[in-house]
Symmetry: C2
Subunit: 300 residues, 2 copies
Amino acid sequence: MRIRITEVGPRDGLQNIKVPIPTDAKVRMVDILSESGVEEVEVSSFVSPKWVPQLSDAEEVFRRIKRREGVIYSALVPNLRGLERALSVGVDKIALFTAASETFNRKNTNATIEESIRRFIPVVREARNSGLVVRGYISTAFHCYFEGRIPPEKVLEVAVRLFDIGVDEVSLGDTTGRAVPEDVKRLLEVILRDFPPQKIVLHFHDTYGMGIANVWTAYSEFGINRFDSSAGGLGGCPFVPGASGNVATEDVVFLFEQSGVETGIDLRRVVEGARVIVEATDGCVGLQSHISKVLERGRL
Amino acid sequence: MRIRITEVGPRDGLQNIKVPIPTDAKVRMVDILSESGVEEVEVSSFVSPKWVPQLSDAEEVFRRIKRREGVIYSALVPNLRGLERALSVGVDKIALFTAASETFNRKNTNATIEESIRRFIPVVREARNSGLVVRGYISTAFHCYFEGRIPPEKVLEVAVRLFDIGVDEVSLGDTTGRAVPEDVKRLLEVILRDFPPQKIVLHFHDTYGMGIANVWTAYSEFGINRFDSSAGGLGGCPFVPGASGNVATEDVVFLFEQSGVETGIDLRRVVEGARVIVEATDGCVGLQSHISKVLERGRL
């Protein structure tokens, strides 16, 4: 079973970086990542530039990247206005975001979970009419800063609603990075009762260093083969020392390739893609992954 | 099943650091780690100071640490001369080291594996006569810089020889840090055919970021509950950017505690123990663990 990676570095990896990153660098990053062998690149976000100024050049990035055949180019879309912008530049796939924690969702989107899902209904309809694939993100699927541990049944409830309104897949996000393999097990035991593993993507952050163990558990015990990850482990807040982002694509690739599981991904290209951002920020942003550090020392 | 940790920071974590670390700092580090709840502290090494100058103060460290009841204080010992030194300061337990890779063992100890094991025979006899517990380390148990992947059968062969000459336990070391959970599985499937899990300790390095996933696989799939780890993830070479050492004790503790498995270890004390070395080297040595970085940001 081949591993399918959605490279979220250009979106999740960059969105919280305060140093402005030139559009050129983003385009170069996406182009390099497109050549690395990942299945999908989440290129940007069509939320209001007021909320995520770093990604306000979403249209321009989409217009300028080289589309590589076979690669899916996706973007975050919060509402119909966002969808229009996304359609205007020909995205292949959109992602809607809600949460499993009511408190987190209210703080993040100023709506209850049910309200946010209802707002998605016309967006999903329009997107599907336009031939787009639709992903639903469920953030805080394991743990919330405000509510603590999230019961798997709550996550299932949100997933059921998302599939009901027509999303094609659901990505379960460990927003705080606190999940451990036991949590992954508990959640997937519940989710996979109702949905096949092909419909489920896992999205881990490596803040507490548990990302790789979680990926392996989801794969080896539950047959999940779709993961979100970020080149260089980009993400988190660059002004907070040691903040860490998504589990790093190159670390995930190393894990699977060493285990004899094919990814088709060239991890050196992935790291090269991430380094564009290190250079564009004059080193203000550093790479978080283990493999990038091994490569800096010159041996793998 | 409670997790039992051998804290190897004061030995494996420090031995390759080129900046001289004052004996005072080592004593303070060991004393703090003694209070953290770990079962054993590997305090130092009685190899020739010519080979490991950093640990040439082994006797003095042993004389000055506060022995806490219930904690085992161990040290590396290469030969009878080392054993005499260890006995003179009352160590509780010694560790002998060999490898599963002939090439690595020759480069490391200038002997074949069989020669090194034969040299251990009188050391084990004397140590047991003196009431000491004896560990045997098998380094390169998964992979060798020179020989590549090491067959599990070769590791078993070395383990059989070590138990034959009377060691109480064997610690399997992933010296290069390249092992992934599949490798752990392959090795333990072979080793545990002949030996019970209580006799086996696993010793992972986190160079490639696989340490936590390996620990979890050994525990959850094979019932191994004994691990070597190093406070702060100390180890590796501090002059090589990003070099990383043993899997960090605090990361291992976080993994298990979040999984509902008791460790009895206070991870804040562990990090405090490691910080002694950061201060003693004026920041030349940095902490590698995820949890220490989370703590620096002030929340766990």
